[in-house]
C-alpha cells in the first residue's frame, strides 16, 4: 500500500485545490476549475489503467517463473535422490568383497591377506632350503656308506680270486694223487665254481653301488635346483606387493573421503531444496500483494471517475462553487482516509516467518 501512496503523490494531486474565493470571481473561476479537475481526472484514470496493465504482466511473469522454478526443484530433487543412491551403492561396493556379505572384507583386510600369502610363500621357501640341507647331509651319509661298500667289494673280489687260485692248486694236487685224489678234485672244482659265482655277484653289487652313486649325484643336483632361488626376485615381488597394497589403501581412503564429501554435499543440497520449497510460499504472499496493489489501482480509477463527475458539475453551474468546493474537500478527505487504511497483517513482509 505504501507504493500506491507514493504513486498518488507523484500524480501531484492538488492540496489545497484552489486559492481563496474572495480574491477570484466565482464565474471567472468555474471554467478554470472545471478544466483543472478534468485534467486531474484524466491523469488519474490513465495512471490507474497503466498500473493495472503492469500488474497483470507482473502476475503472469511471476506465475511462469514460479512454475519453472517448481519444475527445476523437482528435477533437482530427483537428481539428488539418484546421487544419494549412487553414493550408497559406491560405499557398499567399497565395503564388500565378492565373497558375500557374511565374509565382507575391507581393502585393508584384502591387503593383509596378500602380504600374509607372500609371507607364507617366503616361509615355505626357507623351510624348503632348510630341509634341503638335511637331505644333503643324508645323501652325504649314503655316499660315504657306498664308498665303504665299494671298498668291501674290492676286497671280496680279491678273496674270490685267491679262492680260485687255491681251488686250481687243489685240482693240480688232486691230479698228482691220481685215484686217491679223485674226491678231492671234485671238491676243488666245486669251490672254484663258487669262487667264480661269488666274483660275478660282487661285480653285480659293484654295478648297483655305482648306479646308486650316480643317482645320488643327480639327487644332489635336483636338491640344489630346488633350494637355490634368487632372492632378488622375491624382494622385487614383495616391494611391488607392498607398493600395490599401499596404493590400494590410499585409493580406498580417497574413495571413502570422496563418498563422504558426496554425502555431505547431498545433505547440504537437500537442505537447500527444503529451503527452496519453503521459498515457494512467497508465491501466495506476492499474489496477495499484487491483488492489494490492483485494488489500489481500482480505487484510483474510481476516484478519477469521481473527480471527472465533479468537473462536470462545475461546468453545469447548478451548484455553487462553495458547495462544490465543500464536496471536493469531502471527496479528497475520503480518498485520503482510504489511502491511510492500515494494510492487512498477511501483507506485511516483515511479519512473514518462512523458515
Amino acid at each position: 500500500m505504501a507504493l500506491f501512496k507514493d504513486l498518488v503523490r507523484k500524480q501531484s494531486l492538488p492540496a489545497p485545490l484552489l486559492p481563496p474565493l474572495e480574491r477570484i470571481g466565482e464565474e471567472a473561476l468555474r471554467p478554470v476549475l472545471g478544466a483543472f479537475l478534468m485534467a486531474q481526472a484524466s491523469v488519474l484514470e490513465r495512471s490507474a489503467r497503466n498500473q493495472g496493465a503492469r500488474l497483470e504482466r507482473a502476475e503472469l511473469l511471476m506465475t511462469e517463473a514460479v512454475l519453472g522454478f517448481g519444475q527445476s526443484l523437482k528435477q533437482l530433487d530427483d537428481l539428488v535422490h539418484r546421487e544419494f543412491q549412487l553414493s550408497m551403492e559406491l560405499r557398499r561396493v567399497m565395503d564388500v568383497s565378492g565373497q558375500g556379505e557374511q565374509e565382507a572384507q575391507s581393502v585393508g583386510a584384502f591387503a593383509s591377506r596378500i602380504l600374509g600369502t607372500l609371507d607364507l610363500f617366503v616361509q615355505a621357501m626357507l623351510e624348503t632350503g632348510q630341509s634341503s640341507f638335511q637331505l644333503v647331509e643324508e645323501t652325504s651319509g649314503i655316499r660315504s656308506r657306498s664308498s665303504s661298500m665299494t671298498e668291501a667289494l674290492v676286497e671280496l673280489a680279491e678273496v674270490a680270486m685267491r679262492i680260485q687260485m687255491l681251488s686250481l692248486n687243489a685240482s693240480i694236487e688232486a691230479a698228482h694223487a691220481r685215484q686217491f685224489g679223485a674226491g678231492f678234485a671234485i671238491v676243488a672244482g666245486e669251490v672254484q665254481k663258487l669262487a667264480v659265482r661269488s666274483s660275478r655277484i660282487s661285480d653285480q653289487i659293484s654295478g648297483l653301488v655305482r648306479e646308486t652313486e650316480s643317482a645320488l649325484e643327480r639327487t644332489s643336483a635336483q636338491v640344489e635346483l630346488i633350494a637355490s632361488k634368487d632372492l632378488n626376485e622375491v624382494i622385487r615381488s614383495k616391494q611391488m606387493a607392498d607398493a600395490m597394497v599401499q596404493a590400494l589403501e590410499t585409493s580406498d581412503r580417497n574413495a571413502q573421503d570422496l563418498v563422504g564429501q558426496m554425502e555431505q554435499v547431498n545433505r547440504e543440497v537437500r537442505d537447500a531444496l527444503t529451503i527452496a520449497h519453503s521459498a515457494l510460499q512467497f508465491e501466495d504472499i506476492v499474489h496477495q500483494l499484487l491483488g492489494s496493489v490492483a485494488a489500489g489501482s481500482e480505487q484510483l480509477a474510481r476516484f478519477a471517475l469521481r473527480v471527472a463527475a465533479l468537473a462536470g458539475e462545475v461546468d453545469l453551474g447548478q451548484r455553487t462553487m462553495a458547495d462544490l468546493l465543500a464536496q471536493a474537500t469531502l471527496d479528497f478527505e475520503g480518498f485520503g482516509r482510504e489511502l491511510d487504511d492500515p494494510e492487512p497483517a498477511s501483507e506485511s513482509l516483515s511479519q512473514i516467518e518462512l523458515f
Binding site: 609371507d119 624348503t128 633350494a227 637355490s228
Partner: protein
C-alpha cells in the same frame, strides 16, 4: 666363499666373505664345525660384513646350522650384514628365526 673362524672367551666368530650359495655348503660346514664341536663355545656369530650375495639356499643353510647349534645349546646370531644382505633378511623376516645384530 672364503671364511675365517676365531674362537675367544666362549664365543666363536665366523667371518664369511664373498658369495654364499648351495655349493658353499662344504666350506660353510668346515667354517662352523670347530665352533659347533667346541664345548666351551656358548655363542656363535656369523659375521656377514664381507658377504656380497646370498640366495635362498644360503638362508636354508643358516637355518639348518641354527637347528644344529640349538641342539648343541649354542646361541647363533648374524652380525653386521651389509645393506643389500640386511634388505634380504628383512624382506623374508629372518629376524624372527635367527637373531640379527647390527
Amino acid at each position: 666363499m672364503a671364511y675365517r673362524t676365531v674362537i675367544e672367551a666362549g664365543r666363536a666368530t665366523v667371518f664369511l666373505d664373498g658369495r654364499i650359495s648351495f655349493r658353499s655348503y662344504p666350506d660353510f660346514r668346515a667354517a662352523t664345525l670347530s665352533a659347533l664341536e667346541d664345548l666351551e663355545v656358548r655363542a656363535i656369530h656369523l659375521d656377514m660384513a664381507g658377504v656380497e650375495f646370498l640366495d635362498s639356499s644360503a638362508l636354508g643353510m643358516i637355518l639348518h646350522f641354527n637347528q644344529k647349534a640349538l641342539a648343541a645349546a649354542k646361541a647363533l646370531a648374524i652380525t653386521r650384514p651389509a645393506p643389500p644382505i640386511a634388505a634380504i633378511l628383512q624382506v623374508v623376516n629372518f629376524g624372527k628365526l635367527v637373531t640379527i645384530l647390527p
